[in-house]
């Protein structure tokens, strides 16, 4: 047995160092563990300052001893490689282990052990832990807002139906795959729109905007069958004409009344709220901001200077102002800009404001994708005799959109995270409902539980979305 130099651990005395180091390391962890879980202080006999630092010193010395390169023991090498590369890293690793051990007991006791789950009054919440009873009692309000309890099946049914209709793409056979884009861009949003305006609100189907929407959709569908020679003039004239015909000749006021379904009660949008409102707003803004953003992205790269300047102005304006001022604008300034008898629901106003705001961000993301495409793609498409629209629809956009999937997903994530801001216009989604519930005199003092609950829900939604977008990105990755 050779001399042991404690300042230089080496392979010759491997076992000595290994046992000594592991022992010290183990002691330091045990000390912190007992301290935090059982409130035992092993080193209480030492002066305060030393007793506080002792685990760190012991652990550090222990890790120093077992830091032996190429020891030949697999686990030890892995440990050294991952958490014990040098002194600095060893200290940081120890600190992180200590923090985790220290913070586990209070978190566990607050969340589970001391928390109260049973009952449905405030009286059961006497422990020092969380009061999940509060969440349980207020669950319906957090999910549906002020929507009447008896009518909530309408929201559930609509969401289930929309999810089912949305998943059609997975089951479509190859024969129908080519119509999927049309389905998702035109038909699905329309169905969703009708569901929400017809079923959830129980109101009239035909309101002033729907003429324009119907006219636009009809003309786009017919437009597919128009020879490309006349397409330009067709889109110049037909949508407007269709709108005028629909509004002034076909649908009279009686039809508006007919659109109401007798069995359903009208629930005004002011009563909507909770998590379902978060979904409704995110869904609509997502649908609307994508085409608007795409149009402005194309406009920004247009050859026509006037269109380009207008697009740049639009994009830079919305990107330069905070969403909260945009919502302020939609709440107090927008009504001034409309005719006196013309009333737009505040939910619709909020959706328009958020859509325009997010459209500017989507436009920038898509522009990035358009710019990233090599010039050859444009030139190849043009040399095949494709016009502007054909080139973009069949060659450019499919490739550019693939490139920007992560960017778009980030924008949509930002959109979902921005929805709580609608408290500015007086709509209460889940965070707003929490703030309302917090001030209820019967349930004072449970702010923490509410916010933690909402944070968990949002975290799950956002994390799932970001992981899904990552998968999409991997799936559509094409090597060039």
């Amino acid at each position: 047995m050779s001399n042991i130099n404690f300042l230089k651990p080496d392979r010759t005395n491997l076992n000595t160092f290994l046992y000594l180091g592991s022992f010290l390391f183990f002691i330091s962890i045990l000390d912190v563990f007992l301290n935090s879980f059982f409130r035992l202080n092993l080193t209480g006999f030492l002066p305060n300052f030393l007793s506080f630092l002792l685990p760190l010193i012991l652990g550090f010395v222990g890790l120093y001893f077992i830091r032996i390169e190429y020891s030949g023991i697999k686990n030890l090498d892995l440990l050294n490689k991952h958490i014990n590369t040098n002194n600095f890293n060893a200290v940081l690793s120890l600190l992180i282990i200590f923090i985790i051990i220290k913070s586990l007991p209070p978190i566990l006791s607050w969340f589970v052990i001391d928390a109260s789950f049973a009952g449905d009054t405030k009286d059961v919440c006497t422990g020092s832990g969380a009061c999940w009873t509060y969440i349980k009692v207020w669950m319906r309000r957090f999910m549906y807002g002020m929507y009447p309890n008896a009518e909530q099946w309408r929201i559930n049914l609509s969401f289930v139906a929309l999810v089912l209709l949305g998943s059609v793409g997975y089951f479509a056979t190859d024969k129908f795959k080519k119509y999927l884009t049309l389905y998702y861009v035109v038909i699905y949003p329309l169905i969703a729109f009708l569901f929400i305006f017809f079923f959830i609100s129980g109101g009239p189907v035909f309101f002033d905007f729907s003429y324009g929407i119907i006219a636009a959709i009809l003309s786009i569908i017919i437009g597919f069958f128009i020879p490309s020679k006349f397409k330009f003039y067709y889109f110049l004239i037909v949508p407007l004409a269709l709108y005028v015909i629909l509004k002034y000749f076909l649908f009279f006021e009686e039809y508006i009344e007919l659109g109401k379904l007798d069995g359903l009660n009208w629930v005004e949008t002011g009563a909507w709220g909770g998590l379902s409102l978060t979904f409704i707003i995110s869904f609509f803004c997502l649908i609307f901001c994508f085409p608007i953003g795409m149009a402005f992205a194309l406009g920004r790269r247009s050859e026509f200077p006037l269109i380009r300047y207008i697009s740049v102005g639009f994009i830079e304006f919305w990107r330069g102002v905070p969403l909260i001022t945009v919502l302020f604008m939609s709440a107090v300034m927008f009504p001034m800009f409309l005719p006196e008898d013309f009333f737009i629901d505040k939910l619709v106003r909020a959706i328009i404001a958020i859509s325009l705001f997010e459209a500017a961000y989507v436009a920038e993301v898509i522009r990035g994708g358009l710019q990233a495409l090599p010039r050859g793609q444009y030139e190849a498409a043009k040399s095949l005799g494709m016009g502007y629209w054909k080139m973009h629809i069949f060659v450019i956009l499919p490739q550019a959109l693939k490139l920007v999937i992560p960017g778009i997903a980030n924008t949509f994530l930002a959109l979902v995270k921005d929805t709580p801001l609608i408290f500015v216009v007086g709509l209460l989604e889940i965070v707003g409902m929490l703030n309302l519930a917090k001030t209820n005199p019967k349930w004072l003092g449970f702010a923490m539980e509410g916010y933690v609950f909402a944070a968990i829900i949002f975290w799950i939604i956002c994390y799932a979305m970001s992981k899904y977008s990552y998968n999409l990105e991997q799936k559509y990755k094409t090597d060039r």
């Binding site: 490689k81 991952h82 958490i83 590369t85 890293n89 940081l92 690793s93 992180i96 282990i97 330009f232 110049l236 026509f304 200077p305 006037l306 269109i307 207008i310 830079e316 304006f317 990107r319 330069g320 102002v321 905070p322 969403l323 909260i324 001022t325 302020f328 604008m329 107090v332 300034m333 009504p335 001034m336 800009f337 409309l338 005719p339 006196e340 994530l413 979902v416 995270k417 921005d418 929805t419 709580p420 801001l421 408290f423 500015v424 965070v431 929490l434 703030n435 917090k438 702010a447 923490m448 916010y451 933690v452 909402a454 944070a455 949002f458 975290w459 956002c462 994390y463 970001s466």
Partner: protein, 383 residues
């Protein structure tokens, strides 16, 4: 002819549509304002505001004008943004580097931090800190002092105030130190290029920035004393700290949540930037005999910064815009003071909202111009 028409018609239609929409809005606005008896104009800015603001950096009370109230709000917004940007940058750079650490625990800890804070809406975080976390702090009379001088209570953070004598001399000494450092750096660079000698610029700089201000204390007659906050009883159960500087809980909650949230994005930018520098660069630099510090300073950082700066600028802009969420917890920023209270009092919706939006636009555009200039300066000069 047909070809030219196709060029002009789309532009004309777009312009016509924009003009029509704007015209429609202005027309309606005029009619609406006439009906409600509101006149358009910015004259109200000089009127007496007659409302009070809790926290302001400049002297302000109800007798000042609306314009002064606007300034108060603007300064508060800038204060929160600047503090937030500084903390977020420091935190973001640390976390971003930690994400690249070979140490498994540090790496995962940083990843956990990033995934946790960026997937929760900012507004929720602000509410959490303000209504849940900071409300759990002790009352002023029960607060324990941190390091003997800081008091963290439910009514805010109390820190000692600096009381300077001859502050301007101290300030000039710092400026002199900065100028001297710049001159020495330029000289050192010249010496190195001409003679190949290296002057320890870093040590000299550190020495200068400490010694010159110290001299100003010894010779220039600068005096610094601290005013420590003292507990004072207002009524039997009501206590308050007097003296020192008090930071309201709104400001703390807002800066905390803004910087924690934005730091996650900055961390990702930093990580992407450092990863974006090819491994070969590092190896090449090491193989010509540069020390690890030099490799980082001369080879990795200049290239990584080029990738890091544009997205980080965007994050700074986002932070500035997100600071408007202050209105939700009643921190008197621009939106709350001006677009909230002032708008309620005057009813001048169009003027006030447009001023607010214009201010934010100016802030964003000026930051982006500054950063574009910097970006251009450090861009690769291709020959």
């Amino acid at each position: 002819m047909n070809f030219k028409l196709k060029d002009i018609v789309p532009q004309l239609i777009t312009v016509l549509a924009v003009v029509l929409v704007f015209g429609f809005f202005t027309y309606n606005a005029q009619i609406n304002m006439e009906n409600r008896g509101i006149d358009f104009g910015y004259g109200f800015l000089s009127q007496e505001s007659s409302f009070d603001v809790q926290f302001s950096l400049i002297e302000y009370d109800g007798s000042h004008s609306y314009f002064r109230a606007y300034l108060v709000g603007l300064l508060n917004t800038i204060l929160v943004s600047v503090i937030g940007i500084i903390i977020a940058t420091i935190l973001g750079v640390i976390v971003g580097i930690a994400r690249l650490s070979p140490n498994y625990l540090i790496n995962k800890f940083a990843a956990f931090y990033v995934e946790f804070f960026r997937n929760i809406p900012l507004l929720l975080q602000i509410f959490f800190w303000y209504f849940a976390a900071l409300r759990a702090l002790p009352l002023p009379q029960d607060a324990e002092a941190m390091f003997g001088v800081f008091f963290l209570t439910i009514k805010g953070l109390y820190v000692p105030a600096f009381i300077w004598q001859n502050f301007n001399i101290f300030f000039y000494s710092i400026i002199a130190a900065v100028i001297a450092i710049i001159v020495i750096r330029a000289h050192a660079k010249k010496v190195q290029e001409n003679q190949g000698k290296q002057i320890p610029v870093f040590l000299i700089s550190i020495g200068l920035i400490f010694i010159l201000p110290l001299l100003s204390f010894l010779i220039g007659g600068v005096r610094l004393s601290f005013e420590v906050p003292v507990l004072k009883q207002l009524a039997t159960t009501s206590f308050i700290y007097e003296g020192g500087v008090s930071l309201p809980p709104e400001l703390i909650a807002l800066t905390l949540s803004l910087s924690l949230y934005t730091a996650t994005f900055i961390a990702e930018c930093v990580r992407a930037g450092i990863q974006g520098v090819g491994k070969g660069q590092k190896e090449a630099a090491a193989s010509i005999g540069l020390t690890p510090n030099q490799v980082l300073k001369l080879v990795i950082m200049p290239q990584a910064l080029r990738i890091i700066i544009p997205p980080t600028t965007n994050q700074y802009l986002n932070l500035t815009k997100n600071s408007s969420l202050a209105a939700a917890i009643a921190y008197p920023d621009l939106v709350l003071v001006f677009a909230g209270t002032a708008l309620m009092q005057t009813g001048k919706a169009i003027e006030i909202v447009s001023i607010t939006m214009f201010t934010y636009l100016t802030l964003s555009i000026s930051i982006s111009i500054l950063m574009n200039w910097y970006n251009k300066k450090i861009a690769i000069q291709e020959k």
